[in-house]
């Protein structure tokens, strides 16, 4: 069955990442005399890894839907920036500098709505006007990097928002958004592999003509997935914000490359939502491991260790590369009248 097959390919790649994490551990442990493992792998470490992974996983799931249907949404990073910013703006508009938990949830919803509105425009450019997907996606990033901080500066007189509030944890100190993300990931998997829409999405990316001749409007499928990808990236940004509690718009903004990692995550996961989420979790763990190293005083050059996920991406892509992109990615589809 193709599902099994996907999983098989995915696990090889994820296995690569796990290996990487283990090697990192090994290196760390050789550097230290008797740092207890329980100081390194704590409950907090696991939950921070999860928290780190959520925005990335959301963006990744969105991105893979779009790409599965034949549209490469390279603008995830930009949509995440917009998502984080609009969540912050909404929270501030509703509750000033001391928003309530209700406002946080409203902000999440608003961020999704704003992202959907923006992605509709983006999707029209991509699908109706056949924009070059790479270029338009990069443009979204540029636009996000420019206009989100600009608008922040107009609202707050500073590119960063004042401290707002972060979402309260539910059981075991875990954010409810982690649960939400898990729910979305699983639902995405079910939709992709167990419903007709999933079939259509896959067909739209692999052989749009086949779908067209089956009487399904290819571009409608693509509109749906691209808008979904924007919504998920926006939600990812908003989740990041809801965890952090304020918007940082200086430099590369608080999103700081998570959208790019999202793309990498779904490539690792071989376009499987669960695989993508697992990859996001591994990236999260790698990052948090670096933090743990510092905390327990394993003296690695943190600037270099911070580069590990990037190196991991390159190594694993090369060693187990050859992610098979859907055949029709990047090609606008024009039904014969």
């Amino acid at each position: 069955m193709s599902v099994a097959d996907y999983t098989a390919r995915t696990s090889v790649r994820l296995g690569g990442l796990v290996l990487f994490v283990l090697i990192a551990f090994g290196v760390a442990l050789t550097f230290t005399d008797e740092i207890a493992l329980e100081r390194l792998v704590t409950f907090g470490f696991l939950s921070r890894s999860l928290e780190m992974a959520t925005p990335i996983a959301l963006a990744a799931v969105g991105g893979l839907y779009a790409e599965k249907s034949g549209v490469f949404n390279i603008g995830l990073e930009g949509f995440m920036i917009f998502g984080a910013f609009s969540a912050a703006a909404t929270m501030y508009a509703l509750g000033g500098t001391s928003p309530t938990q209700g406002h946080v949830w409203a902000a999440l919803v608003a961020a999704v709505l704003v992202s959907v509105a923006l992605t509709v425009l983006f999707a029209v450019l991509l699908i109706h006007f056949k924009a070059d997907q790479i270029v338009a996606g990069l443009a979204v990033w540029f636009v996000g990097l420019g206009f989100a901080p600009f608008t922040a500066a107009v609202i707050w007189g500073s590119r960063s928002s004042p401290g707002l509030t972060s979402i309260d944890p539910i059981a075991f100190g875990q954010s409810p958004l982690i649960l939400l993300t898990i729910g979305i990931v699983v639902a995405s998997w079910v939709v992709l592999y167990r419903t007709r829409y999933g079939n259509w999405i896959q067909a739209a990316g692999e052989n749009p003509e086949a779908l067209d001749t089956a009487g399904i409007d290819v571009n409608r499928v693509r509109y749906a997935t691209v808008i979904f990808s924007g919504a998920m990236a926006g939600l990812g940004g908003a989740v990041l914000l809801a965890h952090a509690g304020n918007f940082g718009g200086t430099g590369e903004t608080m999103v700081d490359g998570r959208g790019w990692i999202g793309i990498v995550a779904y490539l690792f996961g071989n376009y499987n939502p669960i695989g993508a989420a697992a990859a996001a979790l591994l990236f999260g763990a790698l990052d948090m491991l670096n933090v743990q190293f510092q905390t327990v005083g394993i003296d690695l050059p943190s600037r270099l260790v911070n580069l590990l996920p990037y190196v991991a991406v390159i190594v694993v892509l090369t060693a187990w590369g050859k992610t098979r992109m859907p055949d029709a990615v990047g090609e606008p589809y024009e039904s014969e009248e």
Partner: protein, 358 residues
């Protein structure tokens, strides 16, 4: 990209820019600033005075060089998003090699010239190698170059940043930076005397553009490259080894990016800092190249436009309180519009402008 005639490309580039600026102005107005004044400052700030022009040319020199680097790769169908990283590696290599070798050479103009040559060579080698790496990984490992080059940008920033703060930090300086180039390592600056701009740098840039244009249009290598970009399968048929071509294209692109890094260091900065603070030339270059439809000659006007915008940005900073992020946003919009030639074709058709379709 979609095929189009040169004239059409130019029309689209102009229309994109104007549309983006127009939207930018609306945003300026909505945000409560004066759009008329903004336009005025755009013009004055980019070409309104000798200082402004020199500043524009300084930015443009780098935008054009990095833009050409991007164009080379994109033309050949290889998406080198890593020009920023290659630019950083190149510039850093220039500093390290010049600072390292300077004590061995006489401290005069002759020594300076030799050092410039060595530094430039180092930059070219470093940029070329740093680009060849993702080329090799793509050709022989199947690793998508868009992703690997983006990763390599992060890695270049982190790695050079680490070296600048550590091994190569200038012990005399309080700020985080390398030692400075000796002051006799300096481009002669005829006519315009500006400490950060030299006509020689501009000429180097123009010569590079010309050389790249000639290579692309008039050599077998260029023909192989461009053909690969248009139609991989036909290039293979014509005897191009696609794997080698990917590597040579990336290397070529990286060489130009490295050269841009050398110009940056020798003409402008004179030392190396944390690379997160050397500007985003390599990223904006993607926009520059696309605006020029990846044509190396077209990169010159496109680079001038971006140089002008950047220069106007700095003028606007000094002379008004419009946040500079606006300029970045407008640049993003220019790129966005450039990506959608079809939009303008449609508008042209509707309005009866633009004449023939096709």
């Amino acid at each position: 990209m979609l095929s189009a005639t040169v004239l059409e490309r130019i029309a689209i580039a102009i229309a994109s820019t104007l549309s983006a600026i127009l939207i930018g102005l609306v945003i300026v107005a909505v945000a409560g600033y004066n759009p008329v004044q903004f336009v005025n400052q755009l013009v004055v700030g980019s070409f309104g005075s000798e200082r402004a022009i020199v500043r524009t040319l300084r930015y443009s020199t780098l935008f054009i060089l990095t833009g050409v680097a991007v164009a080379v790769a994109f033309r050949a169908g290889v998406f080198n998003i890593g020009v920023q990283g290659q630019f950083i590696m190149g510039g850093f290599a220039t500093v390290v090699s010049i600072v390292g070798i300077a004590p061995l050479l006489p401290e005069n103009a002759v020594g300076g010239t030799i050092l410039i040559a060595i530094g430039t060579l180092a930059a070219i080698v470093a940029g070329g190698l740093y680009a060849a790496l993702p080329g090799v990984l793509k050709a022989y490992g199947g690793a998508n170059e868009i992703i690997t080059t983006i990763m390599l940008n992060f890695i270049a920033i982190g790695f050079v940043g680490w070296l600048v703060a550590g091994r190569f930090n200038d012990p005399e300086a309080t700020a985080t930076r390398t030692r400075q180039l000796p002051e006799y390592v300096e481009l002669p600056s005829p006519i315009v005397s500006d400490p950060n701009f030299s006509l020689v740098g501009l000429l180097v840039m123009l010569a590079t553009v010309a050389a790249v244009a000639v290579i692309m249009a008039r050599t077998s290598f260029g023909y192989d490259m461009v053909t690969s970009g248009y139609q991989q399968s036909a290039a293979g048929y014509a005897g191009v080894d696609p794997k080698r071509m990917i590597v040579s294209t990336m290397t070529f692109s990286g060489v130009v990016a490295g050269l841009a890094g050398a110009v940056f260091v020798i003409m402008i900065q004179g030392y190396y800092t944390d690379p997160s603070g050397v500007g985003n030339y390599g990223f904006d270059a993607i926009a520059v190249s696309l605006l020029a439809a990846n044509n190396p000659v077209g990169v010159v006007p496109a680079g001038l436009l971006f140089g002008g915008l950047e220069s106007a940005g700095s003028h606007i900073q000094i002379n008004s309180d419009v946040p500079v992020q606006l300029i970045d946003g407008i640049v993003g919009l220019v790129v966005l519009f450039v990506a959608v030639p079809e939009l303008f074709r449609m508008i042209a058709k509707r309005t009866g402008l633009g004449g023939e379709n096709r």
